[in-house]
Amino acid sequence: MIRVIDRHNRDQFAETLEGQFRFRHEIFVKERGWTDFDRDGCYEVDQYDNDHTIYFAAIDDDERVTGCFRLYPSTLPHMLSEHFRHLIDGDVPARLDVYEMTRISVARTQRGGTTYHELLAGLQEYCLDESIVGATALIRLHRLAAVQMAGFDVKPLGLPQQVGDEQLLAVMFGINHASLSRVLQVAKLTGPVLERNIGRPERQIA
Protein backbone atom coordinates (compact mmCIF):
# COMPACT_ATOMS: atom_id res chain seq x y z
CA MET A 1 0.00 0.00 0.00
CA ILE A 2 1.17 3.50 -0.80
CA ARG A 3 0.58 6.30 1.71
CA VAL A 4 0.55 9.87 0.41
CA ILE A 5 1.70 12.57 2.81
CA ASP A 6 1.62 16.29 2.15
CA ARG A 7 1.41 19.43 4.28
CA HIS A 8 -2.25 18.78 5.10
CA ASN A 9 -1.80 15.43 6.77
CA ARG A 10 1.82 15.34 7.83
CA ASP A 11 0.98 15.67 11.53
CA GLN A 12 -1.31 12.70 11.31
CA PHE A 13 1.38 10.64 9.60
CA ALA A 14 4.41 12.15 11.33
CA GLU A 15 5.79 8.70 12.10
CA THR A 16 5.60 7.49 8.52
CA LEU A 17 7.17 10.73 7.33
CA GLU A 18 10.04 10.34 9.76
CA GLY A 19 10.38 6.72 8.68
CA GLN A 20 10.59 7.94 5.11
CA PHE A 21 13.53 10.26 5.93
CA ARG A 22 15.28 7.43 7.78
CA PHE A 23 14.63 5.09 4.87
CA ARG A 24 16.14 7.58 2.44
CA HIS A 25 19.19 7.81 4.70
CA GLU A 26 19.63 4.05 4.45
CA ILE A 27 19.38 4.10 0.68
CA PHE A 28 20.90 7.37 -0.46
CA VAL A 29 23.49 8.13 2.22
CA LYS A 30 24.57 4.66 3.31
CA GLU A 31 24.09 2.73 0.10
CA ARG A 32 24.76 5.33 -2.58
CA GLY A 33 27.06 7.62 -0.63
CA TRP A 34 25.21 10.94 -1.02
CA THR A 35 26.72 12.31 2.17
CA ASP A 36 25.86 15.94 1.29
CA PHE A 37 22.28 15.26 2.33
CA ASP A 38 23.07 13.51 5.59
CA ARG A 39 21.18 15.07 8.49
CA ASP A 40 22.17 14.08 12.04
CA GLY A 41 23.50 10.75 10.79
CA CYS A 42 20.00 9.27 10.49
CA TYR A 43 17.93 11.32 8.02
CA GLU A 44 18.41 12.25 4.41
CA VAL A 45 17.03 15.73 3.64
CA ASP A 46 17.58 18.39 0.99
CA GLN A 47 16.09 21.79 0.10
CA TYR A 48 13.22 20.17 -1.80
CA ASP A 49 11.82 18.72 1.40
CA ASN A 50 9.41 21.49 2.35
CA ASP A 51 5.76 22.54 2.39
CA HIS A 52 5.38 21.90 -1.33
CA THR A 53 6.63 18.32 -1.27
CA ILE A 54 4.27 15.38 -1.66
CA TYR A 55 5.66 12.16 -0.20
CA PHE A 56 4.78 8.65 -1.31
CA ALA A 57 5.70 5.86 1.08
CA ALA A 58 5.24 2.15 0.40
CA ILE A 59 4.40 0.66 3.79
CA ASP A 60 4.13 -2.93 4.92
CA ASP A 61 1.60 -4.40 7.37
CA ASP A 62 3.67 -3.13 10.30
CA GLU A 63 3.69 0.37 8.80
CA ARG A 64 7.39 0.16 8.02
CA VAL A 65 8.56 2.11 4.98
CA THR A 66 9.75 -0.29 2.25
CA GLY A 67 9.98 2.18 -0.62
CA CYS A 68 9.37 5.80 -1.48
CA PHE A 69 9.52 8.74 -3.84
CA ARG A 70 8.45 12.37 -3.69
CA LEU A 71 6.82 14.89 -6.02
CA TYR A 72 7.66 18.57 -6.25
CA PRO A 73 5.99 21.30 -8.34
CA SER A 74 7.82 21.97 -11.59
CA THR A 75 6.71 25.61 -11.37
CA LEU A 76 9.07 26.17 -8.43
CA PRO A 77 12.86 25.90 -8.61
CA HIS A 78 13.40 22.14 -8.53
CA MET A 79 16.20 19.63 -8.99
CA LEU A 80 16.13 19.51 -12.79
CA SER A 81 15.87 23.29 -13.17
CA GLU A 82 18.52 24.15 -10.58
CA HIS A 83 21.06 21.33 -10.65
CA PHE A 84 20.66 19.35 -13.87
CA ARG A 85 19.62 22.05 -16.31
CA HIS A 86 22.35 20.88 -18.70
CA LEU A 87 20.60 17.53 -19.13
CA ILE A 88 17.59 19.18 -20.75
CA ASP A 89 17.51 20.26 -24.36
CA GLY A 90 15.25 23.30 -24.61
CA ASP A 91 13.02 24.65 -21.88
CA VAL A 92 12.72 22.94 -18.52
CA PRO A 93 9.08 21.83 -18.22
CA ALA A 94 7.43 24.20 -15.73
CA ARG A 95 3.67 23.71 -15.56
CA LEU A 96 1.05 23.45 -12.87
CA ASP A 97 0.09 20.02 -14.17
CA VAL A 98 3.65 18.66 -14.24
CA TYR A 99 5.52 17.55 -11.12
CA GLU A 100 9.07 16.38 -10.64
CA MET A 101 9.55 12.87 -9.26
CA THR A 102 12.70 12.28 -7.19
CA ARG A 103 14.28 9.84 -4.73
CA ILE A 104 12.47 6.75 -5.96
CA SER A 105 13.87 3.84 -3.99
CA VAL A 106 13.01 0.35 -2.80
CA ALA A 107 14.29 -1.48 0.27
CA ARG A 108 17.07 -3.92 -0.51
CA THR A 109 14.95 -6.80 0.73
CA GLN A 110 12.05 -5.86 -1.58
CA ARG A 111 14.01 -5.54 -4.82
CA GLY A 112 12.72 -7.81 -7.52
CA GLY A 113 9.34 -7.84 -5.75
CA THR A 114 6.24 -5.76 -6.39
CA THR A 115 7.13 -2.67 -4.29
CA TYR A 116 8.75 -0.94 -7.26
CA HIS A 117 5.67 -1.50 -9.43
CA GLU A 118 3.40 -0.43 -6.59
CA LEU A 119 5.25 2.87 -6.36
CA LEU A 120 4.98 3.38 -10.11
CA ALA A 121 1.26 2.53 -10.01
CA GLY A 122 0.90 4.95 -7.09
CA LEU A 123 2.37 7.75 -9.17
CA GLN A 124 -0.07 7.08 -12.02
CA GLU A 125 -3.07 6.75 -9.73
CA TYR A 126 -2.34 9.92 -7.78
CA CYS A 127 -1.59 12.00 -10.86
CA LEU A 128 -4.69 10.77 -12.69
CA ASP A 129 -6.77 11.78 -9.65
CA GLU A 130 -5.13 15.17 -9.41
CA SER A 131 -5.13 15.98 -13.15
CA ILE A 132 -1.33 15.94 -13.32
CA VAL A 133 -0.36 15.03 -16.88
CA GLY A 134 3.34 14.32 -16.57
CA ALA A 135 6.15 13.66 -14.12
CA THR A 136 9.69 14.71 -14.91
CA ALA A 137 12.55 12.69 -13.48
CA LEU A 138 16.24 12.05 -13.66
CA ILE A 139 17.00 8.39 -14.23
CA ARG A 140 20.08 6.26 -14.74
CA LEU A 141 20.24 5.21 -18.37
CA HIS A 142 20.63 1.52 -17.58
CA ARG A 143 17.30 1.66 -15.67
CA LEU A 144 15.38 3.05 -18.64
CA ALA A 145 14.50 -0.34 -20.13
CA ALA A 146 13.22 -1.53 -16.74
CA VAL A 147 10.86 1.46 -16.38
CA GLN A 148 9.60 0.88 -19.90
CA MET A 149 9.13 -2.85 -19.28
CA ALA A 150 7.08 -1.86 -16.23
CA GLY A 151 4.69 -0.21 -18.67
CA PHE A 152 5.65 3.45 -18.52
CA ASP A 153 5.65 5.82 -21.50
CA VAL A 154 8.92 7.70 -21.39
CA LYS A 155 9.82 10.85 -23.29
CA PRO A 156 13.47 11.91 -23.21
CA LEU A 157 14.14 15.58 -22.45
CA GLY A 158 17.78 15.52 -23.53
CA LEU A 159 20.61 13.17 -24.36
CA PRO A 160 22.02 10.99 -21.60
CA GLN A 161 25.19 12.40 -20.05
CA GLN A 162 27.89 11.17 -17.77
CA VAL A 163 27.47 12.64 -14.26
CA GLY A 164 30.09 11.32 -11.87
CA ASP A 165 30.23 7.60 -12.57
CA GLU A 166 26.67 7.37 -13.86
CA GLN A 167 24.96 7.98 -17.19
CA LEU A 168 21.95 10.13 -16.37
CA LEU A 169 18.95 10.99 -18.50
CA ALA A 170 16.21 13.59 -17.92
CA VAL A 171 12.77 12.23 -18.85
CA MET A 172 9.07 12.95 -18.72
CA PHE A 173 6.84 10.06 -17.67
CA GLY A 174 3.46 10.18 -19.33
CA ILE A 175 0.46 9.91 -17.01
CA ASN A 176 -2.37 7.91 -18.52
CA HIS A 177 -4.74 5.03 -17.87
CA ALA A 178 -2.88 2.77 -20.30
CA SER A 179 0.35 3.09 -18.29
CA LEU A 180 -1.49 2.49 -15.03
CA SER A 181 -3.14 -0.66 -16.31
CA ARG A 182 0.13 -1.97 -17.79
CA VAL A 183 1.94 -1.47 -14.46
CA LEU A 184 -0.86 -3.18 -12.54
CA GLN A 185 -0.84 -6.04 -15.02
CA VAL A 186 2.95 -6.49 -14.90
CA ALA A 187 2.86 -6.61 -11.10
CA LYS A 188 -0.38 -8.62 -11.01
CA LEU A 189 -1.91 -5.95 -8.77
CA THR A 190 -5.65 -5.63 -8.98
CA GLY A 191 -6.61 -2.26 -7.85
CA PRO A 192 -5.95 1.03 -6.24
CA VAL A 193 -2.59 0.98 -4.52
CA LEU A 194 -3.06 4.32 -2.74
CA GLU A 195 -4.31 4.35 0.81
CA ARG A 196 -7.69 6.11 1.05
CA ASN A 197 -6.49 9.32 2.52
CA ILE A 198 -7.97 11.00 5.48
CA GLY A 199 -7.11 14.60 6.14
CA ARG A 200 -5.86 15.41 2.65
CA PRO A 201 -8.23 17.84 0.92
CA GLU A 202 -8.73 17.86 -2.82
CA ARG A 203 -5.84 19.68 -4.37
CA GLN A 204 -6.93 22.51 -6.64
CA ILE A 205 -5.18 23.05 -9.92
CA ALA A 206 -5.50 26.71 -10.77
Partner: protein
Protein backbone atom coordinates in the same frame (compact mmCIF):
# COMPACT_ATOMS: atom_id res chain seq x y z
CA UNK B 1 24.63 19.40 -24.98
CA UNK B 2 24.59 18.79 -28.72
CA UNK B 3 21.17 20.08 -29.76
CA UNK B 4 21.29 18.77 -33.33
CA UNK B 5 22.07 15.29 -32.09
CA UNK B 6 19.29 15.36 -29.53
CA UNK B 7 16.81 16.49 -32.15
CA UNK B 8 17.94 13.61 -34.39
CA UNK B 9 17.63 11.11 -31.54
CA UNK B 10 14.25 12.47 -30.51
CA UNK B 11 12.88 12.22 -34.07
CA UNK B 12 14.31 8.72 -34.39
CA UNK B 13 12.53 7.69 -31.18
CA UNK B 14 9.25 9.12 -32.44
CA UNK B 15 9.61 7.09 -35.64
CA UNK B 16 10.42 3.98 -33.60
CA UNK B 17 7.33 4.49 -31.44
CA UNK B 18 5.20 5.02 -34.53
CA UNK B 19 6.29 1.73 -36.14
CA UNK B 20 3.41 -0.72 -36.24
CA UNK B 21 5.27 -3.78 -37.53
CA UNK B 22 8.73 -5.14 -36.79
CA UNK B 23 9.75 -4.62 -40.43
CA UNK B 24 8.89 -0.94 -40.15
CA UNK B 25 10.80 -0.76 -36.90
CA UNK B 26 13.91 -2.41 -38.38
CA UNK B 27 13.87 -0.13 -41.39
CA UNK B 28 13.59 3.10 -39.45
CA UNK B 29 16.17 1.95 -36.90
CA UNK B 30 18.64 1.03 -39.61
CA UNK B 31 18.20 4.39 -41.37
CA UNK B 32 18.52 6.44 -38.22
CA UNK B 33 21.61 4.60 -37.00
CA UNK B 34 23.16 4.95 -40.46
CA UNK B 35 22.62 8.68 -40.32
CA UNK B 36 24.32 8.72 -36.93
CA UNK B 37 27.31 7.12 -38.63
CA UNK B 38 26.85 3.37 -38.11
CA UNK B 39 26.35 1.42 -41.34
CA UNK B 40 26.18 -2.01 -39.74
CA UNK B 41 24.03 -3.26 -36.95
CA UNK B 42 22.98 -6.46 -35.27
CA UNK B 43 20.33 -6.72 -32.56
CA UNK B 44 20.57 -9.89 -30.48
CA UNK B 45 18.81 -11.34 -27.47
CA UNK B 46 20.75 -12.56 -24.46
CA UNK B 47 21.35 -16.33 -24.59
CA UNK B 48 18.82 -18.38 -22.63
CA UNK B 49 18.45 -22.12 -21.97
CA UNK B 50 16.18 -22.54 -24.99
CA UNK B 51 18.12 -20.09 -27.14
CA UNK B 52 21.81 -20.71 -27.46
CA UNK B 53 22.80 -20.79 -31.10
CA UNK B 54 23.68 -17.56 -32.84
CA UNK B 55 20.92 -17.72 -35.45
CA UNK B 56 18.31 -17.93 -32.70
CA UNK B 57 19.78 -14.99 -30.79
CA UNK B 58 19.64 -12.57 -33.69
CA UNK B 59 16.52 -10.41 -33.76
CA UNK B 60 17.59 -8.69 -36.91
CA UNK B 61 20.79 -7.58 -38.56
CA UNK B 62 22.25 -5.45 -41.25
CA UNK B 63 25.72 -6.87 -41.76
CA UNK B 64 27.62 -7.52 -44.99
CA UNK B 65 25.95 -10.80 -45.96
CA UNK B 66 29.22 -12.65 -46.64
CA UNK B 67 30.44 -11.74 -43.19
CA UNK B 68 27.17 -12.76 -41.54
CA UNK B 69 27.31 -16.15 -43.30
CA UNK B 70 30.90 -16.73 -42.36
CA UNK B 71 30.29 -15.63 -38.78
CA UNK B 72 27.30 -17.96 -38.39
CA UNK B 73 28.87 -20.92 -40.20
CA UNK B 74 32.16 -20.75 -38.35
CA UNK B 75 30.44 -20.27 -35.02
CA UNK B 76 32.41 -17.09 -34.37
CA UNK B 77 29.85 -16.06 -31.78
CA UNK B 78 31.37 -18.52 -29.32
CA UNK B 79 34.72 -16.80 -29.74
CA UNK B 80 33.57 -13.23 -30.04
CA UNK B 81 35.09 -11.23 -27.16
CA UNK B 82 32.39 -8.55 -27.57
CA UNK B 83 29.64 -11.13 -27.04
CA UNK B 84 31.38 -12.24 -23.84
CA UNK B 85 32.16 -8.76 -22.56
CA UNK B 86 28.67 -7.34 -23.08
CA UNK B 87 27.19 -9.70 -20.47
CA UNK B 88 29.30 -8.10 -17.78
CA UNK B 89 28.51 -4.49 -18.62
CA UNK B 90 25.71 -2.05 -17.78
CA UNK B 91 26.76 0.72 -20.14
CA UNK B 92 27.72 0.88 -23.78
CA UNK B 93 31.35 0.32 -24.70
CA UNK B 94 33.59 0.86 -27.66
CA UNK B 95 35.19 -2.18 -29.31
CA UNK B 96 38.53 -0.69 -28.35
CA UNK B 97 37.58 -1.02 -24.66
CA UNK B 98 37.22 -4.79 -24.87
CA UNK B 99 40.10 -6.48 -23.04
CA UNK B 100 42.40 -8.51 -25.32
CA UNK B 101 41.62 -12.21 -25.45
CA UNK B 102 43.89 -15.26 -25.12
CA UNK B 103 41.82 -17.12 -27.68
CA UNK B 104 43.63 -16.92 -31.07
CA UNK B 105 40.32 -17.11 -32.99
CA UNK B 106 39.06 -14.12 -30.97
CA UNK B 107 42.13 -12.12 -31.84
CA UNK B 108 41.86 -12.80 -35.56
CA UNK B 109 38.16 -12.08 -35.42
CA UNK B 110 38.74 -8.68 -33.90
CA UNK B 111 41.93 -7.70 -35.66
CA UNK B 112 41.20 -8.58 -39.24
CA UNK B 113 38.10 -10.55 -40.17
CA UNK B 114 35.46 -7.98 -39.30
CA UNK B 115 37.64 -5.19 -40.63
CA UNK B 116 37.97 -6.99 -43.99
CA UNK B 117 34.26 -6.39 -44.41
CA UNK B 118 34.46 -2.73 -43.47
CA UNK B 119 33.55 -3.15 -39.81
CA UNK B 120 36.54 -1.36 -38.37
CA UNK B 121 35.16 0.43 -35.37
CA UNK B 122 32.17 -0.41 -33.29
CA UNK B 123 29.98 0.20 -30.31
CA UNK B 124 28.08 -2.39 -28.29
CA UNK B 125 25.02 -1.41 -26.23
CA UNK B 126 23.73 -3.81 -23.55
CA UNK B 127 20.09 -3.57 -22.47
CA UNK B 128 18.96 -4.57 -18.98
CA UNK B 129 15.57 -4.83 -17.34
CA UNK B 130 14.52 -5.97 -13.85
CA UNK B 131 15.55 -9.52 -14.75
CA UNK B 132 19.06 -8.60 -15.84
CA UNK B 133 20.84 -8.59 -19.20
CA UNK B 134 18.24 -8.95 -21.95
CA UNK B 135 19.66 -7.90 -25.30
CA UNK B 136 22.41 -6.03 -27.07
CA UNK B 137 22.71 -3.82 -30.08
CA UNK B 138 26.04 -4.10 -31.84
CA UNK B 139 26.96 -1.24 -34.17
CA UNK B 140 29.88 -0.96 -36.56
CA UNK B 141 31.29 1.40 -39.12
CA UNK B 142 34.13 1.66 -41.61
CA UNK B 143 34.51 5.36 -40.81
CA UNK B 144 35.29 7.30 -37.72
CA UNK B 145 32.40 6.64 -35.29
CA UNK B 146 30.55 9.55 -33.66
CA UNK B 147 32.30 10.94 -30.59
CA UNK B 148 29.31 10.48 -28.33
CA UNK B 149 27.45 7.22 -27.73
CA UNK B 150 24.52 8.92 -26.08
CA UNK B 151 22.10 9.13 -29.02
CA UNK B 152 22.73 5.56 -30.18
CA UNK B 153 22.32 4.22 -26.65
CA UNK B 154 19.02 5.93 -26.13
CA UNK B 155 17.71 4.86 -29.54
CA UNK B 156 18.69 1.24 -28.84
CA UNK B 157 16.73 1.13 -25.59
CA UNK B 158 13.62 2.70 -27.12
CA UNK B 159 13.82 0.29 -30.06
CA UNK B 160 14.02 -2.68 -27.70
CA UNK B 161 10.98 -1.42 -25.82
CA UNK B 162 9.03 -0.98 -29.06
CA UNK B 163 9.96 -4.52 -30.14
CA UNK B 164 8.58 -5.84 -26.88
CA UNK B 165 5.35 -3.86 -27.13
CA UNK B 166 4.81 -5.06 -30.71
CA UNK B 167 5.55 -8.64 -29.72
CA UNK B 168 3.12 -8.50 -26.79
CA UNK B 169 0.41 -6.96 -28.94
CA UNK B 170 0.71 -9.69 -31.58
CA UNK B 171 0.90 -12.74 -29.35
CA UNK B 172 -2.15 -13.89 -27.42
CA UNK B 173 -2.31 -17.01 -25.22
CA UNK B 174 0.12 -19.67 -26.30
CA UNK B 175 0.92 -22.04 -23.46
CA UNK B 176 -0.48 -25.56 -23.55
CA UNK B 177 -2.55 -26.82 -20.64
CA UNK B 178 0.36 -28.92 -19.44
CA UNK B 179 2.81 -26.02 -19.66
CA UNK B 180 0.43 -23.85 -17.69
CA UNK B 181 0.11 -26.53 -15.06
CA UNK B 182 3.88 -26.89 -14.74
CA UNK B 183 4.43 -23.12 -14.53
CA UNK B 184 1.70 -22.87 -11.88
CA UNK B 185 3.53 -25.44 -9.74
CA UNK B 186 6.77 -23.53 -10.29
CA UNK B 187 4.97 -20.39 -9.14
CA UNK B 188 4.03 -22.26 -5.96
CA UNK B 189 7.72 -22.86 -5.34
CA UNK B 190 7.93 -26.47 -6.49
CA UNK B 191 11.10 -27.78 -8.11
CA UNK B 192 10.92 -29.79 -11.32
CA UNK B 193 11.45 -32.90 -9.22
CA UNK B 194 8.53 -31.98 -6.91
CA UNK B 195 6.25 -31.26 -9.84
CA UNK B 196 7.28 -34.52 -11.51
CA UNK B 197 6.25 -36.41 -8.38
CA UNK B 198 2.94 -34.56 -8.19
CA UNK B 199 2.07 -35.17 -11.84
CA UNK B 200 3.61 -38.68 -11.99
CA UNK B 201 6.01 -37.86 -14.79
CA UNK B 202 9.79 -37.57 -14.89
CA UNK B 203 11.75 -34.53 -13.83
CA UNK B 204 13.06 -34.29 -17.43
CA UNK B 205 9.53 -34.05 -18.78
CA UNK B 206 8.80 -31.19 -16.41
CA UNK B 207 12.01 -29.44 -17.48
CA UNK B 208 10.95 -29.90 -21.09
CA UNK B 209 7.58 -28.21 -20.47
CA UNK B 210 9.23 -25.41 -18.54
CA UNK B 211 11.79 -24.79 -21.26
CA UNK B 212 9.06 -24.73 -23.85
CA UNK B 213 7.05 -22.21 -21.80
CA UNK B 214 10.19 -20.11 -21.38
CA UNK B 215 10.76 -20.09 -25.12
CA UNK B 216 7.18 -19.06 -25.82
CA UNK B 217 7.22 -16.27 -23.26
CA UNK B 218 10.71 -15.13 -24.11
CA UNK B 219 11.99 -15.76 -20.60
CA UNK B 220 15.41 -16.56 -19.25
CA UNK B 221 14.81 -18.04 -15.84
CA UNK B 222 12.13 -19.99 -14.04
CA UNK B 223 11.32 -16.89 -11.97
CA UNK B 224 10.83 -14.90 -15.11
CA UNK B 225 8.59 -17.39 -16.87
CA UNK B 226 6.42 -17.37 -13.74
CA UNK B 227 6.30 -13.56 -13.77
CA UNK B 228 5.59 -13.44 -17.52
CA UNK B 229 2.86 -16.10 -17.22
CA UNK B 230 1.18 -14.10 -14.46
CA UNK B 231 1.53 -10.84 -16.31
CA UNK B 232 0.09 -12.17 -19.54
CA UNK B 233 -2.71 -13.97 -17.70
CA UNK B 234 -1.49 -17.45 -18.75
CA UNK B 235 -1.72 -18.49 -15.12
CA UNK B 236 -3.19 -16.98 -11.98
CA UNK B 237 -2.56 -17.73 -8.34
Amino acid sequence: MEPVQFKAAFDAINRINAATTSDELHLTLQRDLASLGYEFLLFAMAPAPHRQTFDRLVLFQHWPSDWFDQYSRSNFHDHDPIAQFVRTRFDAFDWSDVPPSDDPISRTLMASSAADFGMRRGLCIPIHDCFGYRAALSLATSHEPPQSHAAAEMIAIFAFNRMNRLRLASTPTRLTTREREVVTWAAAGKTAWDTGSILHVSEQTIEKHLTSAMRKLNSYTKAQVVAESLRSGEISL
